[in-house]
């Protein structure tokens, strides 16, 4: 193994380390954030015993689940039952591979480390990155439907069918909602899309896509709420109706995997929104030398993403739940059409040379 190869592998490993560490930490602490914020909104305290302000709570939760008994129901299809949570989690995590967290690569030497490794701000530079994201989002359905089917019980099956229908339905609107951005940017590569949002109008309005495609953003937001199966669209796991949805029969680490998948999907989707509509890592009007530029961009990206995560939590504890037929009607008869019209209008404007 020569030095060049070591360098190459090392660069990849560091990239993955940075991003996945961030994601897993984020997932863990999102559970805490959710509990704390909900408590705050309901005028409670929330978990604050483990560590200062309950900061060690996720760790404790993880340990607890690890030690629980892993039950596989008698009527379950064992292999698929085990496979399902993995199939949910893997695409959710894999989504982060294509999301850029900063503008330029950074050399580890700039950070005072001894290796001359260029660390790119993403794991994989794919020219069809956005398509990969959409594809991975569609793959998540497998885990859900298999979890429901393999449990060999009615509630999970019903929940899985609901989830599947809901996810398939809103996937279309989601795809259509992001296409206007692709049209105006002319690329499916997420880094290119983020870079295209540099600069400002009049010196103070950031050159973000949200100001160009307000409707696209709105439709994407709604579709993402449905994709992540969060309130107000959490029909698949609506406790009063379906006990717990497709993961009713799951316990211990497998249940944790579903939980992690849910939060990592949330984070991935928040990051997607930020990248597509809010300039990604862009900080308008900022020009610094490395490594500060890199660090501030990562910080900006994280802050923007966190804002949307907070929005998820905020909405969850504020709005009531839709009825299932309303959900389907909204998806097929309203959102899809509106997204399509939006796309058509943008396409016409692009063709006319306005955009």
């Amino acid at each position: 193994m020569d030095a060049a190869m070591i360098k190459e592998i090392g660069e990849i490993v560091v990239r993955m380390l940075i991003i996945f560490t961030a994601v897993f930490t984020g997932v863990g602490y999102m559970t805490l954030v959710e509990r704390r914020v909900s408590a705050w909104m309901q005028d409670r305290l929330g978990p604050n015993r483990v560590g200062p302000q309950g900061l060690l709570q996720p760790l404790a939760d993880g340990l607890k689940h690890l030690m629980k008994e892993d039950i596989v129901p008698a009527g379950a299809h064992r292999m698929v039952f085990v496979l399902a949570p993995i199939l949910v989690l893997v695409p959710a995590i894999a989504s982060f591979a294509v999301i850029p967290i900063a503008g330029d690569a950074i050399n580890l030497q700039d950070l005072g480390l001894p290796w001359d490794w260029q660390i790119k701000p993403f794991i994989a530079d794919v020219s069809v990155g956005l398509l990969i994201l959409l594809g991975l989002a569609s793959l998540e359905v497998y885990g859900v439907v298999l979890a429901g089917w393999s449990s060999g019980s009615k509630y999970p099956a019903m929940g899985a069918l609901r989830s599947t229908a809901q996810m398939i339905s809103y996937e279309l609107a989601l795809g259509l909602a992001v296409l206007p951005v692709v049209l105006t940017t002319g690329s499916l590569r997420l880094q290119t899309i983020a870079e295209a949002q540099a600069g400002t109008w009049f010196g103070f309005i950031p050159h973000w896509n949200v100001f160009i495609h307000p409707f696209g953003f709105l439709f994407l937001l709604i579709a993402i709420f449905a994709e992540t199966k969060r309130l107000p669209f959490d029909l698949p796991e609506a406790e009063p109706e379906l006990v717990g949805g497709y993961h009713t029969e799951y316990s211990a680490m497998k249940f944790v995997m579903f939980y992690m998948a849910e939060y990592s999907t949330m984070i991935a989707n928040a990051a997607l929104m930020v990248t597509l509509f809010f300039g990604g890592w862009q900080v308008p009007g900022l020009a610094l030398s490395q490594p500060w530029m890199f660090l501030i961009q990562v910080g900006a990206f994280s802050a923007k993403t966190f804002f949307f995560l907070f929005l998820f939590v905020w909405v969850r504890w504020t709005l009531p739940r839709f009825r299932y037929d309303q959900l389907m009607n909204l998806g097929w008869k309203v959102l899809l059409e509106l997204a399509f019209i939006n796309l058509l209008v943008v396409a016409m404007l692009v063709a006319a040379g306005v955009m």
Binding site: V80, S127, L131, I132, L134, G135, S138, L139, V145, L146
Partner: protein
Amino acid sequence: MSLDTILASAASIAAIFSALMVIWQRNAVISALFLVLNLGSVAVLFLTLGGEFLAAVQVIVYAGAIMVLFLFVITLLNPAPLKERFASGPVMTGLTFALGVLFVAALMRGIMSLAGAGGVMASVGEEYGSARSIGELLFTAYLYPFELAGVLLMVAMVGAVVLARRQTAGED
């Protein structure tokens, strides 16, 4: 052995294995899962052939939509797994299988004529298989078939809705 070749070989083996498992399994759900694996392997093969966009579409359309639909229907109907693996008796099955082997042998003999200079891959540029290049072709040279494909999907959609619709009282 380049990285591409390793990747392609692995994907080929995975594809053949998963294809065999599709027809070997008695349970339709497991078959479908292996088919997804097969489709994924083929997507990887597309990647090694320079079809970046094609691979993405393969995942989104085949794995993300068609196979989800399959699974959805299977779990919706949830038919009991069949006892027999194959439809015919062992003799018939064996004969059919022998026919298949004969077919592969015949095809292989024909394919081998491609080996050597005739089977060299052309060198292609960076843009080969990108969304832009495919899109340009689709909307220029293949515009008419493209529109027809749209019509086909529309017809299929209407057909599916009509066929799968439960007939309510009052209709005949």
